[in-house]
């Protein structure tokens, strides 16, 4: 059972081929390390071992010159020991990246010394039934040979071509290209009397993933215009450096000589990246049902229900425009994530046609309150539904408004309303009578994504956006598909003297 679970998760063919140069550990190597580490744990107690290996290649440039190029890799072997009646030493408190027997044994002994520093005899486990099996989700696309095989030389060539295109226009560029690959596996011995298989449901079977990102900012030499384009994906083949460069150059040229407009409420056309930036606080808030069902500053907390004796959330209530859904299908080729153990397999819909239908929750919430025995992930990766209106059509239908490339420096001002503030960046244009007429100086906005998603006029087609953040626990990619939006009454509160 274990082999079947792991093999389906890890896409072994691709992984084995890509690991020929040992940039990340293979399954056999991980298993060997875990076995050796457990072998050094003698004298009873409990042992948990986590092995992670990662590789990262990066290239950073500024003012058309490369400033950093690296190719790094490391291994983190974390060991937790709980000697009999001692305290748990903490998995990440004792780590090593040396895999000789002597070093591993020394790490195990160090973990045991930490455990002996305190008394925790436990209260006894009690008599529990055997641990259940949690079949993990299989088939999520998270590994790309193209990403893993993008060598230092290849990265240099990519960036050389991008810089050459920028220089040909007499412009300056800065950017960052990064590719990553990683593998991880964990194994513990807690509660051996309950275990059925080798791995408990909270252990991480062997998992591998890749991640790539490329961003470029183009400025003119006077600092008067700025353009930006970027993309992140597990698969380098899905990132087109030439197209990104072309887009950044276009935006830079078009954003020269901006004029100042009065702050106020405008109809705005938000490009997909701007939408992704703006709704990130909302997306984050969808992760915790527990927060929403206790007195909290969660935007989804409704209030106490004295009659039933519990706290109510806004689940089941319409919270945004009915054309908007936010969901995730882990088999979507654009939205693969490294699934954590115990997760609900399959598609999750947090907002369905404007109605809040789900919030992420932990295992105990499901077991105690609901009908299942899984965790429900928050929108680590997500697809926001859209429409079929192109940005050009949105512009054509706008009498007076602004076109926003993206936002930056977004800070949340109020947890309940999700009121945020931030800046427009890298291209803001005035639209008059269906046409872009001039570049505009950047604004500070003060607005809530909840208000924005209730003022939607038109929606574009969802496309991949730049979302380079990594899974908080496993380090895997967290992609998103987001549409452009045309929104009325967007609040800009001050001018910003920056490009």
């Amino acid at each position: 059972m274990r082999n079947e679970r792991e093999s389906r998760r890890a896409r072994p063919g691709a992984a084995a081929e890509g690991m020929a140069d040992r940039r990340v550990l293979s399954r056999e190597e991980c298993e060997s390390i875990l076995e050796r580490a457990h072998g050094f744990a003698r004298g009873g107690g409990e042992t948990r071992v986590v092995v992670t290996s990662w590789w990262q290649g990066e290239l950073r440039w500024g003012r058309n010159r490369v400033s950093l190029s690296s190719d790094r890799r490391d291994i983190v072997l974390g060991i937790e020991r709980k000697v009999v009646d001692g305290r748990p030493s903490g998995t990440l408190n004792v780590t090593t990246n040396q895999l000789d027997d002597g070093f591993i044994e020394a790490a195990v002994r160090a973990a045991e010394r930490k455990s002996l520093l305190g008394i925790d005899p436990g209260w006894g486990l009690g008599d529990y039934p055997p641990l259940p099996e949690y079949p993990p989700y299989v088939g999520a696309p998270v590994w790309s040979d193209a990403t893993f095989n993008l060598t230092t030389e290849a990265r240099g060539e990519v960036v050389r071509a991008m810089i050459a295109a920028v220089e040909a226009e007499g412009l300056l560029s800065a950017g960052y290209l990064e590719v990553r690959g990683a593998s991880a596996m964990s194994k513990g011995t807690e509660a051996p009397e309950l275990r059925q298989g080798e791995l408990a449901f909270w252990d991480l079977p062997y998992s591998v993933w890749t991640h790539a990102q490329l961003s470029i900012t183009v400025r003119d030499s006077t600092g008067g215009g700025s353009g930006w384009a970027a993309l992140a994906s597990y698969d380098w083949n899905r990132i087109d450096p030439e197209a990104l460069t072309e887009r950044a150059i276009q935006k830079c040229v078009a954003s020269r000589n901006p004029v100042a407009l009065e702050p106020g409420r405008y109809t705005v056309i938000l490009e997909p990246q701007a939408v992704a930036d703006l709704i990130q606080p909302l997306v984050d808030s969808l992760a915790s049902r527990e927060d929403a069902e206790r007195p909290s500053a969660s935007p989804w907390y409704l209030g106490p229900d004295e009659h039933l004796g519990l706290h109510r959330s806004k689940l089941g209530m319409k919270v945004v425009d009915s054309r908007i859904s936010i969901s995730h299908d882990p088999s979507d080729p654009s939205l693969g994530i490294v699934a954590a153990p115990m997760e609900t397999p399959g598609t999750v819909t947090w907002i369905d046609r404007g109605v809040l239908t789900n919030l992420g929750f932990g295992l105990s919430t499901d077991v105690k309150w609901l009908e299942g025995w899984h965790t429900l992930r928050g929108p680590l990766a997500y697809r926001m539904s859209g429409g079929d209106t192109t940005i050009e059509e949105m512009i054509a239908s706008t009498r007076r408004g602004l076109l926003v490339t993206r936002f930056s420096n977004i800070r949340k001002l109020d947890d309940v309303s999700l009121l945020c503030t931030g800046l427009t960046r890298d291209g803001l244009w005035l639209i008059e009578n269906g046409q872009i007429t001039k570049a505009v100086k950047n604004f500070r906005f003060t607005e809530s994504p909840l208000f924005v998603l209730n003022n939607v006029e038109q929606l574009g087609e969802p496309v991949p956006v730049f979302r380079p953040v990594l899974h908080p626990f496993l380090g895997g990619p967290m992609p998103a598909m987001v549409p452009a939006l045309k929104v009325r009454d967007f609040s800009f509160t001050s001018l910003v003297d920056a490009v």
């Binding site: 948990r48 009646d85 748990p88 305190g118 008394i119 005899p121 436990g122 209260w123 006894g124 486990l125 009690g126 008599d127 529990y128 039934p129 641990l131 259940p132 513990g188 807690e190 509660a191 408990a200 909270w202 069902e293 206790r294 106490p304 229900d305 004295e306 039933l308 004796g309 519990l310 706290h311 109510r312 959330s313 689940l315 089941g316 115990m342 109605v355 809040l356 239908t357 789900n358 932990g362 295992l363 105990s364 077991v367 105690k368 309150w369 609901l370 009908e371 299942g372 025995w373 965790t375």
Partner: protein, 512 residues
Amino acid sequence: MRVLAWLPVLSTVLLVASPAAAQTLFAWPDTAVDVSKYTTVEECHAAVVRVIESVRRREFFVHRVWRDTLPYDPAEDVRPVPAEAREAARSCGTRFSDVEAQPVSEYRMLVPLYFAAGWDDKAEALMKRRLEAAAREGDAELAAALDTVVYMYSGRTGTAWGRTSLVGFPGLPVDPPRLDLVNAVVDEYLPRISDRVRRIRILMTQVRLARLGARLDTARIEWAAPQILSLVDSLSEAEKAQLADELTGFSEDKDKLEERLYREVYRAIEGVNQRRALLDSLRHSTAAYVREFRRQRPKDVNVPYGRPAPTLEADVWLGCGDRCEPRPTPGRVSLVVFFYHDVVRELPYDHHKCVRVISGAEGIRAHCPRLVYTLRRLADRFPELDITIVTRTHGFFGYLKEDMTAEKEAELLKRWLEYFGVRAVISMTETDYWRLPNHDRRRIDEPTVNEVNYSFDGPAGPRPNGWSVLIDEDGLIVYDTVLQPDSPGSAYESDLIEMIEALLERRAARTT
């Protein structure tokens, strides 16, 4: 790149150029701890605390007995400092041993260290210097200093080994407490404080100290109470107003200050007598006990003492063979314990969790040990006590949810309790429930018949986890309490034990 190419050459040159004599071979540093090298009193405090903790840790690893599984022992409160800690305090405190040379301002840190080192005379001398210096500075300073000294001698300062500091002092407490010294300093210095309001406040501290924890120091109350009462009677109106301002909050009625003071003092004195009266009446009869209880607490009209205990109902009985009903069993002293292996309602307060939903390696251990250990101690101590665990179905146990039935839940709970040595009859009731509609889908449990019957005049619903009802051999309710899993004291347990003993004595006397 050209710079990098030069690096090997450069390093070779440097190595050749370095004189071999300047090299120092690596040697492990001396990591042995020598507390005598510590230079500050704070370091000494920390060292002694660490030694005490390590000694207790070592004791555990040798004896393998967890204190919470043992009956409460009042001797624990006055256990002297371990010899190793005393040696550490002496070694570290040597540089502070000349008490006359120490600044009096350091007394709060030095005095506990002197006591830990066994230098009681030095501690008393420094304390006396502090009080005399305060006396020279005036009434207010002396009152403040005396207040602090009382707290220190009482062992109520310091934060070591979980003892709560009342006045926010960090570090080592005076352990064991020197209550005889409290009396001595109060006798000597209290009369020198002319401010009668401050004197009352210090004496009130005496009363509170006597009632802290599981101990009740009746002699101290009897010593302080008459002094407080006579002082209160002699206060002028202005002094009463001052005392009212200092002692009462904005929400309190200042006109009831005297009542409050009397109540606090008398309650401390009467507490012992009332307890004795209750137990004496219980030994006589439950009716007499209830009469005495009503006399002492006339406002507690909803307390069901003296009422017949409702007969328990269950869909599944375990641990009682074919003699499960009626229960509580007539003719036996019974303890009915409402116990939930997880409760789902979380308003108005969070019930104490017991058997948790295990969601990962960190949650693998159970979480209500004191409750089950208390039950085990009661069962071991009173084999003739009839303990019934009243519970309800939740639809899961631990992480297990599939194919769960009332029988299975009862069996799993019984096995779980038996693991901790708790042998009791299980009364499992099937819970009626419904689910919230419209994406919420939470399970809403209805009260069980036992919860309704045992709610008496209060709202029906889950009882606090560990809520226990003591019932006499005639089926009359005598006492109820919550076996709080997080309660650090054992006062409730000793109360329960005394009452069970009284009931069993009475029953034995009847049968003979």
